[in-house]
Symmetry: C2
Subunit: 198 residues, 2 copies
DNA sequence: CGCCGAGTTGAACTGAATCAAGAAACGTGG
DNA sequence: CCACGTTTCTTGATTCAGTTCAACTCGGCG
């Protein structure tokens, strides 16, 4: 996977449409720098964009009734992140999207993107692929949470987000895994002992 | 929500296409009775159909490394169920789909359905809606598992599947919630005590 | 140098799992 | 329609994974 790829290049590699047209489409969308800590979506707002991360790292998370944060997804370079429930059904979002590093993000107008399918069927196919990828991830996540222990989930996290592991505080990893930072610390200790024991 | 609706009627109500064409499309797909206990998909197989439940009840579940079952979804009347990861990416499924009651199920050929979009754009839109609904459910599920206690998840289950609650053994509800049947029994006891106390 | 946030460690606690036993409900065949 | 065996549900005792709270370490960084 390439780092720091511009969206146009990413799409040219994944969508069978004339590169010039892709560049034209991408140019019509706003690309913005987002500073660490800034929000792209806040609870209660309607999500009007798909965000593509060209540089940096975002997190997609909720805050529960006790004030605890739960990270549903990380979005490093070349990832999309969007609250599709909010964007598609026009409902206020229950989630936040925030930059964890100084980032460069393309804000794809959801309306515009969905209309693109009419002119470019290949775009519909690509969007479809994104949706199926999204479903794949979410389903795996549900199955993980139902089937695996904290330690097993941590190992799978490393597989999925090897780079993210090194870029965020462990508190955030714990929040993604659904455990406390203290528990993650102990899980890591156990794993490293087990590893050195063999 | 209507019970025992045939797929054609369901689609006529949800897709703006000539009813005759819809009937013709549905008639081209196989509808089959499925006895309680029978499987529509087994681990390792590639999922080649979307299943629409006209009558009865299905479950979509996995079995973990310790042999425990984890139900990802129930599908009562008018629900679709499909392993989209397997169907779309052509990968062997990690899941099972099984009838929990004697059921009547329409087996929609995934290939055929996706090609329908070419002739009937309204079908593409409908498929899109199904995908977004799927994402909505899965995302809620992840957020629930991360944010709520067993008791809270049980209450939300009742909201989502009021009828299923009465049709399956509590063991299955527990498996959906990610707890043991014993724990569910205690959760229910606590809730009923709390309820009668006020 | 001293502060500060992140990570670790410890001890007590808690929600849920496990194991085991008994009670209730269920459906199947006589 | 009853009797039987099986499955499901409940309850209790114990164990365990993970939480909570608190203290301490460590590595930057002003």
């Amino acid at each position: 996977m390439l780092n720091n790829l511009r969206l146009a290049d990413y799409l040219i590699a994944h969508v069978p449409i004339d590169p010039d047209i892709i560049r034209q489409i991408v140019d019509s969308q706003k690309t913005a720098p987002v500073s660490k800590g800034e929000y792209l979506l806040m609870q209660g707002e309607i999500c009007r964009h798909s965000f593509f991360v060209e540089k940096g790292l975002l997190r997609y998370y909720s805050i529960d009734s006790k004030g605890k944060e739960h990270i549903l997804q990380f979005a490093p370079e070349n990832w999309f992140v969007v609250d599709r429930e909010s964007a598609y059904f026009g409902k206020p979002s229950q989630y936040f999207i925030q930059a964890l590093e100084d980032s460069t993000v393309v804000m794809l107008d959801e309306q515009f993107i969905s209309e693109l399918g009419a002119s470019y069927p290949a775009f519909t196919a690509f969007n479809n692929k994104l949706l199926h990828n999204h479903i794949r991830h979410l389903q795996n996540r549900v199955n993980q949470l139902l089937s695996f222990t904290a330690g097993e989930r941590y190992l799978q996290f490393i597989e999925l987000y090897p780079d993210v592991l090194l870029r965020v505080p462990q508190t955030m990893v714990a929040s993604y895994l659904g455990i406390t930072p203290e528990s993650l610390s102990r899980v890591r200790k156990e794993l490293s002992q087990k590893h050195s024991a063999q």
